[in-house]
Amino acid sequence: MKHTLEADGINLEFGNRKILSDIYLKCETGKITGLLGRNGNGKSCLMNIIYGTLNATDKSIRLDGRPLLQAYKKPEILLYLPQFNFIPKFLKLKSIFTDFNLEYNELESLFPEFKTKYNSRIKNLSGGQRRLIEIYIVLKSNSKFALLDEPFSHLSPLMIETVKELLLETKKTKGLLVTDHMFRDIIDVSDDLYLLTGGRTHLTKDIKELEFLGYAKL
């Protein structure tokens, strides 16, 4: 069954500064929705509003047309990968995989470098490995949607390619909303692409619009 996650009529202001203005964004299961935008344009704020951890002046978040409130309390619906590391440093990989009910063997088969790390603490992994574990658990855990904020940061080019494959594999069962500054990678994997500029989202039909809207030189 296909599910739809919509963020509609979102307005966000910090003091007199308007960050988001009447935003609309749609994400569907079976699709990767890319979100691009310059620094400080409110991409992370928008994700936090959808996740329910940031209050907006106005907002309507809907799942299949019904209001979705406090999504952060419903991991079976929505998971969130923030742009910074979020797994407590003292946890072992063993505990993390137990908490999320995931099979460690599957990780080992995808990434053989983790074969000797089952009992390692997350703080003893490299920055890239740590990020990879975070992306993996968000993508593999049971939920209808996942929000990924800068999943490609701290990853080597080879790791980025593997993560892109993982994203394409995961979209068969989930809806993904992904944002990153590595726009070529986002364009590669996205089915729908939004550009956030001037506080508004623009659904791009052609990637040349990114240049026209002043986001990137292609």
């Binding site: 952060y72 991991p75 998971l79 407590p88 658990i137």
Partner: protein, 110 residues
């Protein structure tokens, strides 16, 4: 409360369990030495230190909360259960210290 819920709260409690246990022991020891008339001071000392721990973790470990939220446990739930457990442990320690006062005074160099 199922096993998973207990595990998750235990993981969160690990952030401040050791420090809190030390504070609880110091506070309970104080009650033992001064008597129950010192309970109010000891209790507010314990409450204040818990408040400082709360503010510290909310400020400096705020990214960790996303881990627990992705598992379905809100910040409020985590704090509510772990603080309740911590206060139960604290009161239990006061009970143990005061009930075994004579023994503790004999074995401790005080």
């Amino acid at each position: 409360m199922n096993r998973k819920t207990i595990n998750i709260h235990y993981r969160f409690y690990q952030n401040f369990a050791l420090l809190s246990l030390i504070i609880s022991n110091v506070s309970a020891f104080f009650v033992m030495m001064v008597g129950l008339k010192g309970f109010a001071f000891a209790f507010w000392f314990k409450a204040a230190t818990l408040g400082i721990i709360y503010l510290y973790l909310n400020k400096y470990k705020k990214s960790d909360f996303y881990y627990y939220q992705n598992l379905g446990y809100s910040k409020k739930t985590l704090w509510w259960y772990t603080m309740a457990l911590d206060m139960v442990v604290y009161l239990l320690l006061i009970f143990i210290y005061t009930q075994n006062q004579a023994y503790l005074r004999a074995i401790l160099p005080i």
